[in-house]
């Protein structure tokens, strides 16, 4: 009990002093896409086809289970392309939840597990930021994220992995290229 009170007091003091508590710092750090890209070993890119309609707006689980999945590891030439495509995408905590269907996703991992994940919606107009979800928190993500992720998939159809669900739609011609 005393420890909790001490932590609460410390948090309040830090907040008054304009210093973020350790937990918030960690969250902010996890929101740093660029940092995650520098240390990740592999990435999965998801693109949920616009042809797929749902009873309720797709969530990250929908994007992962029904989106076309492109898998890439740091050792592949496409990794550099992924870094270039999404490395500079802006991401910030959302002041308030926004509307928008999550249709694209990016999951960065190392050998210990998932380091970073972000999901974004397709812009309805010319707005610079759209609804996103990262590290299970509502965020605003650059409207260019959807185009960057979709473009990566379009440039690397060979990275599309096996279709495990009948509704998982990948563009025609996607999938591993035959050896040789």
């Amino acid at each position: 009990m005393r420890a909790l009170a001490t932590l609460a007091a410390l948090t309040a003091l830090l907040s008054l002093a304009g210093v973020e508590p350790p937990v918030a710092q960690a969250q902010a750090q996890r929101l740093d896409l660029g940092a995650a890209l520098r240390i990740a070993d592999s990435a999965e890119v998801y693109v949920l086809s616009g042809d797929l309609a749902f009873v309720r707006s797709p969530d990250p689980g929908t994007v992962r289970s029904l989106g076309c999945r492109y898998s890439v590891s740091r050792t592949m030439p496409a990794w550099r392309d992924l870094q270039a495509a999404v490395g500079n995408v802006a991401l910030r905590p959302a002041a308030r939840p926004r509307h928008g269907e999550l249709r694209v996703g990016l999951v960065l991992s190392d050998r210990r597990g998932i380091l970073f994940e972000a999901y974004g919606s397709v812009p309805a107009g010319a707005e610079p930021m759209v609804r996103g979800l990262s590290q299970r928190r509502d965020v605003e993500i650059a409207a260019t994220f959807a185009a960057a992720v979709t473009g990566f998939g379009a440039r690397h159809p060979e990275l599309a992995t096996a279709l495990v669900h009948p509704a998982r739609l990948c563009p025609a011609g996607s999938g591993p290229r035959p050896a040789g």
């Binding site: 797929l52 309609a53 749902f54 009873v55 309720r56 029904l66 928008g100 309805a124 509704a167």
Partner: protein
């Protein structure tokens, strides 16, 4: 994966036992003709044996496959002609009943038969159609011959023809079931040697969904897969059942339950009917798979209800309607930036789902959100939003 296909396809495919050749006869089988209530103005009856063969040969043109009367040796031509005559007699025959309507040989006191523009075979799966007075015209048209039986009889005709053309020894294919798909209905045909267990075109006592077709040196058994509901009512035909593919009984019951439930609402009925017309396919998924729709195929999980943001629970059946509506409407999926997500979902929720939900006592919603509640055993299960009474913050 289980599939229910609302298909209009008249494709016929026959595949030999283990990876044998596939013969496709698109457009050949026209089951709808003998049930078409507008037949009097059409070229009904469309099929004599010769026309039958002509159509098949036309379809087979260029494929190397041929078919002729001579190939029908396993079913004596005279016998087949007798069958066709019996089948068509009530169509061409002299009226034996009174009646004042256009269908003069059907004694329809309410003057409501046949069902006008409704094709019973198209809409007969809807309970609301079955309740219409004119529905029983269909029973009359088939003269107590189970339509399922008719399809099997056609299948036997075709199967025998293909066997005759196959250059296979009947001994080699004995007891080997060959799979056929006639108008979307899986049918199995098997050759047996020895004495037939019944007369030609009789049903097996042990299985009313299997018929016997006799030949000079043995007999065929032909049965539908899965068995149709005709076992319970030999003169009725569930018009969903014939187009089932790989469907398990539990899934079938769920689909039928949902259709019966939705059919109580006129708008929902229109969506169902439109889905059938457009050849929408319904794939029944299980576990925690989501409902979805893509390119005319609906993925439906009969156990998945949706808890709406207002706390109400929308039934799995209503979810099916939502997805069928997606398959029916061709609105753009352009993002709207509002709570509905995109143009089509906004239209469907506001103009279809909420209208039907209100009529059926289900909760409505003003967004496209919600969380799945899996594990439902009743596809109609729904709950209103919680009553907060006078509680205010």
């Amino acid at each position: 994966m289980f599939e229910l296909a609302f298909e209009e396809s008249s494709a016929l495919v026959m595949q030999g036992g283990s990876g044998g050749p596939v013969v496709s006869m698109d457009g050949f089988y026209q089951a709808s003709d003998y049930q078409d209530s507008t037949y009097q103005e059409s070229e009904y009856p469309p099929v004599t044996q010769e026309e039958f063969i002509d159509e098949v040969e036309e379809t087979l043109a260029g494929t190397g496959g041929i078919l002729s009367v001579d190939d029908l040796a396993l079913i004596p031509e005279a016998e087949w002609e007798n069958f066709l005559s019996a089948l068509l007699a009530f169509v061409n025959g002299t009226p034996s009943h009174g009646g004042s309507d256009q269908n003069s040989y059907y004694n329809d006191h309410s003057n409501e038969a046949p069902l006008g523009e409704f094709f019973i075979e198209q809409w007969g799966f809807l309970p609301s159609v079955q309740r219409m007075p004119g529905y029983h015209y269909y029973d009359y048209l088939t003269q107590d011959i189970d339509p399922e039986f008719l399809e099997m009889a056609y299948a036997s005709f075709l199967g025998a023809s293909v066997f005759a053309n196959s250059d296979l020894s009947l001994a080699d294919i004995e007891n080997m079931p060959f799979q056929m798909v006639v108008d979307g209905r899986p049918i199995s045909i098997t050759w047996h040697s020895g004495s037939a267990p019944g007369a030609n075109f009789s049903t097996l006592a042990s299985d009313p969904d299997t018929i016997v077709v006799t030949a000079s040196t043995g007999y065929f058994t032909i049965d539908t897969q899965p068995p149709g509901p005709s076992q319970g009512n030999p003169n009725a035909m569930d018009f969903v059942q014939p187009t089932l593919e790989n469907m398990q009984n539990g899934s079938l019951r769920a689909v039928q339950q949902a259709i019966s439930y939705l059919d109580d609402n006129e708008l929902a009925r229109q969506i169902l009917a439109s889905a059938v017309l457009r050849g929408v396919r319904v794939v029944v998924v299980t576990g925690t798979a989501e409902h979805g729709e893509a390119n005319g195929t609906v993925f439906w999980n009969p156990t998945a209800a949706v808890r709406l943001t207002n706390g109400g629970i929308m039934s799995p059946a209503m979810c099916l309607l939502h997805e069928l509506a997606h398959a029916v409407f061709g609105l753009p999926n352009t993002p709207t930036g509002d709570a509905y997500g995109n143009i089509e979902d906004r239209y469907i929720i506001q103009q279809v789902e909420n209208v039907v939900a209100a009529a059926l006592g289900e909760p409505t919603r003003q967004d496209h959100d919600g969380d799945y509640v899996f594990g439902q055993t009743d596809v109609t299960f729904h709950q209103p939003p919680p009553d907060l009474g006078d509680f205010r913050i």
